[in-house]
Every structure is written in structure tokens, then in C-alpha cells.
């Protein structure tokens, strides 16, 4: 009788142990795959303020940092991906010259999301516009629709990808605002790399954030504001 009880107890103990060993890696992997259980919050609107007066002509540090962070080749052929590019502009009347970085403007009303047939283009609750690489069929309609020419199509096979930044041949991609860094509490690589601090990154919705305070005090514009897309990236001195 005593033996029987012991056996039952032992059986239960070992069963629980076996079950735990079997389930634990699954739970661990699930946790790793999903990262933090906390999703993007709509209380946040990530944005950037670019001070063109601090952006030096010929300086390409933000572009280099972006390429390194996201595993881009850095090539500038017409078929190469460029998530961020430096644009040199000269006002036709007056000749004023400026240099500035241009990338996905993370619009509140993004045309790329509107036109995407498969909902691969989407906007996170915190305003970051992304492409789901598993859902993109490579139709390039979003590239036709983007007023900022911010998107690139992967024209050839990729090697040595950054595991945090999945990319895929035959799909469209663009600046992710370094979402993998932002979710860890870091800044996008371009903002980090700018020695002149011309790129200020932060939460536009938080009135106490540095970016919100600055936007209140200096004159800034949205590029192609006439389209009323309300981009999250603003430019000062344009």
C-alpha cells in the first residue's frame, strides 16, 4: 500500500518534470520570437526633426550608418536599395543651397499603405510605416504611390543579412526608422551617427520630449505638406 502511494507520487513528479522539459524550450522560443509582449502604443508617435542648417554638404555619415545597421550594400546603382539618401537642393529663385537626408517620412496617411493590395505595407500604432516581407508580392505599386521615392525593390539575391532586419529578393523595402533599435529604447542609426546632431529623434506625442519642445519653438515644415499626408519627419530651415 505504502509502496503504491510512493510509486504514484514518483510517477506524478516525473511526469511533471518530463512535461516541463518538453514545454520549456517552446515557451522560450515563443518568447524570443515575439520579443516583448508589449505591442507598439498609439500613445507614441515616433518622429524626427531634421535641422538642415546643421546638415553638412558632402557628409554621408547617416547614410553609411543606415547601410551598416540594416545590412545594405551601399551601392548607388539604379537597382540598389537606398533607404536614406542625401539630397543637395538649390532654390531656383535666389540660389540658396541646402543639404538634407531623405528617407521614408512615416506619414500618418501613407499612400503606400492605401495602395498595397495585400496589406503588406502597414503602419504601426506608434506611426512607424513598415513592409511585412512575408506578405509583399513585389507589385511595386507602393513605389509608384510614394511621393518621396522612399522605397526600394530588392532586385537580386541578398547575402549576409542582419538577423534583426530581414529583407528579401523580390520584395519592397524602406527605412524602418530602425524599429529594431527603437523597440530596445535606442535611437535610429542615422540619428546616432550624425556628428552635427542634425537629426533629432523622439516622441512627437509627448509634450515634454525634446523633439516636441523644439517643434513648438522653431519653424519646421513637412515636405510636400500640400498632400496632407502628415509625415512624422519634419525639416527645419527648409
Amino acid at each position: 500500500m505504502i509502496d503504491n502511494t510512493l510509486n504514484r507520487r514518483q510517477f506524478l513528479k516525473s511526469s511533471v518534470g518530463v512535461a516541463a522539459v518538453a514545454v520549456a524550450p517552446g515557451i522560450l522560443l515563443y518568447g524570443m520570437a515575439n520579443g516583448s509582449s508589449e505591442g507598439a502604443s498609439a500613445k507614441v508617435r515616433w518622429g524626427m526633426l531634421i535641422d538642415t542648417s546643421h546638415c553638412a554638404e558632402g557628409c554621408n555619415d547617416c547614410v553609411t550608418a543606415c547601410n551598416k545597421e540594416n545590412g545594405l550594400s551601399g551601392g548607388v546603382a539604379a537597382t540598389d536599395s537606398q533607404w536614406i539618401r542625401k539630397i543637395e537642393i538649390k532654390e531656383i529663385a535666389g540660389g540658396r543651397q541646402l543639404s538634407l537626408p531623405m528617407m521614408c517620412q512615416h506619414c500618418e496617411n501613407p499612400p503606400c499603405v492605401d495602395v498595397c493590395p495585400t496589406t503588406a505595407s502597414f503602419k504601426r500604432a506608434d506611426g512607424i510605416v513598415l513592409v511585412d516581407k512575408h506578405r509583399c508580392i513585389g507589385c511595386r505599386y507602393c513605389m509608384m504611390a510614394c511621393p518621396y521615392k522612399a522605397r526600394s525593390f530588392v532586385h537580386e539575391a541578398l547575402h549576409d543579412q542582419n538577423p534583426d532586419v530581414p529583407r528579401g529578393k523580390g520584395t519592397v523595402e524602406s527605412c524602418t526608422m530602425c524599429v529594431h533599435r527603437v523597440d530596445q529604447g535606442l535611437q535610429p542609426a542615422c540619428a546616432d551617427a550624425c556628428a552635427n546632431k542634425a537629426i533629432l529623434f523622439g516622441n512627437l506625442n509627448d509634450p515634454d520630449s525634446e523633439i516636441a519642445k523644439k517643434i513648438r519653438t522653431v519653424a519646421s515644415v513637412q515636405v510636400r505638406a500640400d498632400l496632407r499626408l502628415n509625415p512624422g519627419v519634419r525639416y527645419q530651415g527648409l
Binding site: I87, E91, I92, P111, P117, T118, M144, A157, G170
Partner: protein
């Protein structure tokens, strides 16, 4: 003996033509395989010209597929006997060209293997997603329409089916025009004139294709097209060509009037190299002036003139689409109005595009698919127009 050898020759010619089309389809599929293997790097398309020659072929075929149904509509909806007799052939051509066009469009995707993703993830704000429904619905609608016309017991349903197809294709061509109308930021697009323009253009291109196929069938079967029908259809083609030209002129005139569009118009109409050349020589001269002369000038307007005019209208159509789709992308986006712009990503610069062999073969493959469906369809089922000439008058 003579007749026997003539039949034998025709039989062989038929199989030779089918085999030739089969080879073109295979070449197209091989191109797709290469594009899958190497990526779109082997095409002339790039991050500036994102839609190229495959889209010119695909949109031509899809637009013509809608327009050719005019022949059916005039028969079924407006009760004209001469056209009613031709409705089955128009239906077959519509399915054939839609099949060819969609093949090209689908196989040009970066990930054609994800077709199921497109079918299962529907974005209601995307006109592309609507078009997936419109195009597949069109296949079904035209197939049912053909059934009602060709199956004796279903005849009473052919009028409502024809009416349904009539409505459906208007929406479909509107959808094709709207793909471009909804592009808010590009100078060439983003205007509400495009859907009606595409509809009227579809009438002209569809009827031109119909003329050529009908003449081929009549020549093949030693039939002679009734004079009355020939005259009616010829005049209709002329009217459609003029109406299409009117819309194209109105589109450019409107642009010319807007100061912000004048640089773009200067590019397309005079300074843009290949684009103004294709517009003026390809579309205006070859696609309009010459065909209209062949149709309307005294002494012209015979069957072979109209056939030649139809070929020219199709060539003009391809020219117009090349200018519209590729020229529209080649002109730089206006991101900073009032500024001169330059960058490593082609900002402020005219984009270059050189179509490569694989993408041209993909486009021709689509035409060959349309040809195969038409040829096999006519061979296997009764699509040759049977008319009672007494009912014409």
C-alpha cells in the same frame, strides 16, 4: 485533289502557328524562370522605373480585353443583329486577352509564388486589390455569357448576361484607369480623366484587335465579310479612334494649362527624346492620322485598308502606353518644388530605361497566350460569326 491539298496545307499551317505561339510562350516562361533565379536585376526596370515593358503589354491586353466586348454589348444590349452574330467571338477574344494580360502582370511580380497571399489578404483601400476581384470576376462573367449564347437552352439568359458583362467591363476599365488616377504625387497621373480615357481607348483597341481576328477567320474559311457589316464596323472603329484621341488631347491640354505641370508636358511633348517621338510619330501619326486616312479617305476603307488601320491602331496603342507608363515615371518626382535637386537616387534627373530581352519575351509570351486561347477556341468550338444578312436592314 486541289481542295484536299489546300485543306492539308491549312491544317499544317494551323499547327505550325500554334507551335510557334507555344515556343513564344515557352520563351516567356523561361524569362520568368530567369527573373525568379536572378531577380529583376536582369530586366531594365529599376528603383526609378518600377513598371516597364511587361506592364505596357499587360495593360494593353487587359484594356483591349474589355474594349473588344463592345462588339458583344452592341449586339446584346443594343440589339443589333450584325454585332450579335459576332458576340461569341468577342467574348472569346476578351477571355484570351485577359488571360494573356494577367499572365504577364502576375509573372512580373517580385514574388509570383505568393499569389495565394494576394488572394487571401485583401486591402479594401487598394485599387489593385479591387482589380484582382474585377479581373477574376470578368473571366467568370464572360464565361457565363458565352455559355448563354452558345447553349440553346440558355439563350433567354444571354441578354441579362450580356448586360451584366457590359456593366462589369465598364467598372473593370475604370479600375484600370484608377490605378493611375490614385497616384497622388506623380505629375503624369493623379487625374480623374484617366478612367474615362481608358474606357474610350479600350473601345478603339478592342475593335482593332477584333477586326484583325475576324478578317483572319474569314480569309481562313474563304468567307467574305458582308459589305454592310464591313462598312458599319469600319465607321465605328473610326469614331472610337477619334474619341480616344480627343481624351488624350484633353489630358495634355489640361496639364499644359497648369503651370506646375508645364515642365512635365514639355518633357513628354518635345524635350524627352524617345517619349515625344513615340507620342507624335507612334501614337499621333501611326496610331491616329494614318488609320483615320485609311478608314475615311475616298478610295480607301476597303477591308484590307481597315485591317492595316487596325494594325496601326494597335502599334499606336503600344506607343501611347509606353509614353504614359514609362515616360510618366522617367520624369522626376517633384519633391521640392522651386528647387534644383540632385542625389544618388536619381532625384531631379530623368530616369533611364532600357528594356531587356527577358521582359520583352515575357510581354510577347502574354500575347502568345492570348493567341493560343483564341486559335484553340475557334478550332474547337463554333466562334465563327453566322449571320443572317436579311436581318441587317
Amino acid at each position: 485533289m486541289y481542295i484536299h491539298s489546300a485543306v492539308l496545307f491549312r491544317n499544317r499551317l494551323f499547327y505550325a502557328l500554334v507551335a510557334l505561339a507555344g515556343i513564344v510562350v515557352l520563351a516567356g516562361l523561361y524569362s520568368v524562370h530567369l527573373m525568379e533565379e536572378h531577380g529583376h536585376i536582369i530586366t531594365g526596370m529599376n528603383n526609378q522605373i518600377v513598371w516597364g515593358i511587361p506592364h505596357v503589354f499587360a495593360i494593353f491586353l487587359i484594356v483591349a480585353a474589355s474594349g473588344v466586348l463592345n462588339v458583344s454589348s452592341i449586339g446584346s444590349v443594343f440589339n443589333k443583329h450584325a454585332y450579335k452574330a459576332r458576340a461569341p467571338l468577342a467574348g472569346l477574344l476578351s477571355i484570351a486577352m485577359l488571360g494573356g494580360g494577367l499572365t504577364v502582370l502576375m509573372l512580373d511580380l517580385g514574388r509570383p509564388d505568393r499569389l495565394l497571399v494576394a488572394a487571401t489578404n485583401f486591402n479594401p483601400t487598394s485599387v489593385f486589390a479591387w482589380n484582382i476581384v474585377l479581373y477574376s470576376g470578368m473571366f467568370g462573367a464572360v464565361a457565363v455569357y458565352l455559355w448563354t449564347m452558345m447553349e440553346g437552352r440558355m439563350k433567354p439568359w444571354s441578354k441579362p448576361a450580356g448586360f451584366f458583362v457590359f456593366i462589369w467591363r465598364f467598372i473593370l476599365t475604370t479600375g484600370t484607369g484608377v490605378i493611375f488616377s490614385f497616384l497622388v504625387a506623380r505629375q503624369a497621373y493623379g487625374t480623374a480623366i484617366l478612367p474615362p480615357m481608358f474606357i474610350v481607348i479600350s473601345f478603339a483597341w478592342g475593335l482593332a484587335v477584333f477586326h484583325i481576328v475576324q478578317s483572319a477567320i474569314y480569309a481562313w474559311t474563304n468567307k467574305v465579310l458582308d459589305d454592310y457589316v464591313q462598312k458599319r464596323m469600319k465607321n465605328l472603329l473610326g469614331v472610337f479612334v477619334i474619341a480616344a484621341l480627343y481624351f488624350v488631347v484633353a489630358y495634355h491640354l489640361t496639364n499644359l494649362y497648369f503651370a506646375r505641370q508645364s515642365d512635365f508636358e514639355r518633357f513628354i511633348l518635345s524635350d524627352g527624346g524617345i517619349y515625344p517621338m513615340l507620342l507624335w510619330a507612334g501614337y499621333v501619326l501611326i496610331g491616329n492620322v494614318l488609320p483615320l486616312a485609311l478608314i475615311y479617305l475616298p478610295g480607301f476603307g476597303k477591308s484590307y485598308h481597315v485591317n492595316l488601320a487596325s494594325v496601326l491602331i494597335i502599334l499606336g496603342g503600344f506607343s501611347l502606353l509606353y509614353v504614359f507608363i514609362i515616360g510618366g515615371q522617367a520624369f522626376p518626382l517633384s519633391i521640392f518644388p522651386g528647387f534644383e535637386v540632385k542625389s544618388t537616387f536619381g532625384d531631379g534627373a530623368i530616369s533611364l530605361y532600357y528594356p531587356s530581352a527577358p521582359e520583352i519575351l515575357l510581354g510577347l509570351g502574354g500575347v502568345a497566350v492570348a493567341f493560343l486561347i483564341t486559335a484553340v477556341g475557334i478550332r474547337m468550338l463554333d466562334f465563327v460569326p453566322h449571320e443572317d444578312t436579311k436581318k441587317f436592314h
